[in-house]
Amino acid sequence: MNQIAESEVETQIETDTEAYTESLTAPFARVNDEWFSELPDDLYIPPEAFAIMLERFEGPLDFLLYLVKKNGLDLVKLDIAPIATQYLNYISLMQQLDIELAGDYLVMAALLADLKSRLLLPAPKSLTVEDDPRQSLLARLEEYARIKQGAAQLNDQLVEGRDVFAVTVGVSHVLPDDAEPEIVRFDAEILQLAMRAMLSRPRVVEHRIIAEEVPLEDRIIAVRHAIQHGKSIRFDHLLVRSQGRMGIVVTFMAILELLRQQEIEIVNDGLKDDLQNNTHQNATLLTIRGRTHAA
């Protein structure tokens, strides 16, 4: 697969992904929507390798930079949609392979999904440069690339304590063991206080948000399915119990996504209810309906 020109990701897929798709035990999100109809181009990497690959990156922006460089895209032409597509595909694939993803990657996925859906919309007549969602992503990528380069330059400096060692020599005479006790006295209590402060300090734990396997595209399909033929449905009826909190968040993201794509409309935004009178019985919840004119 590597021989295939990188820029042909959009078209190369049909040929040898069928077998791979079938080999996946989890159902691959293969829908008519263009951004899930293709697979990343380095597909035959085992899941562990994906995880290791991801560890090489400093986060979603770094990963995006890699994709940009790998594909040699023309950023002057704001050729950013294919990168967003690839990114989303990788994330979706990793989720299906049960690879834990830091929350930051999911945030970026939501942002890119949003960007892509906005690009699908007919451009408003008064689109300014600042309004172009690609422009702001590009600006972030550039700024990150610059900072990354700054980091490399800092790393190239001769750093004291790593590349050079500052010299300090003692001044005082070496005291013999039987020297007079030092005049300065300290309260031994301060040692105990220091020890207490140190030991009661919370242990530093690296927080990694573990993504449950709730791919955004799955939820989009589910919502689409639920609102077929203009049916209206309450938000809680869209949820799958086993998907937990992440399911709620991703389902909500899916709704936002479909709203943007004008496939659905809101029947009730669930905001009118007085909080104090709100009981489980008569709670008003966000309710949506499929737009009949949507494809």
Partner: protein
Amino acid sequence: MIDTAHALRILEAVLFASETPVSILVLRQAFEDEYDTQPDQKITNAQIESWLNQLSAKLIDSALELTKTASGYRIQVRPEYARIVNRLWPERPIRLSQALLETLSVIAYRQPVTRADIEQLRGVTVNSQILRTLFDRQWIAEDGFRPVAGRPALLVTTKHFLDAFGLQSLEQLPELQEMNDIIHDLSEKKSE
């Protein structure tokens, strides 16, 4: 007249004993303490700099060198001999992870910045451990806050940071690429 050999030894005593880089002001102070009987014989900065040059020359045949950083002069083991130190005390040399370098780079090049700025720029949550390490090394400090909700602290780099990276001022930070170069670099096709 001050004996040059003696002057160099005064510089040595002060520079070698100091835990931090020594400013020319402090060096002058050392001489004034020593020669306070002749107030007419003021020692100039130029005179001290000339002695520093001679001290530097005196060190040429050693594993040490005199270097100038933001807060003054410091004597250090030359990089080519640092390898011996690294090997002997493998736990000693500080390690700079990519995440730490990037965080530091944001603060150094974009200061003052808030924690949220760093997160926005790097696209990842700021690791508290990294900030703590940077504070612990005194490479960064808080300097006021941004007058918005939550009053987030503004982070800046310190003189210690410049000292550690062998810089005399922030102006000496290596320049960042121009926007156009970045786009060009990013858009360059992979050669394979």
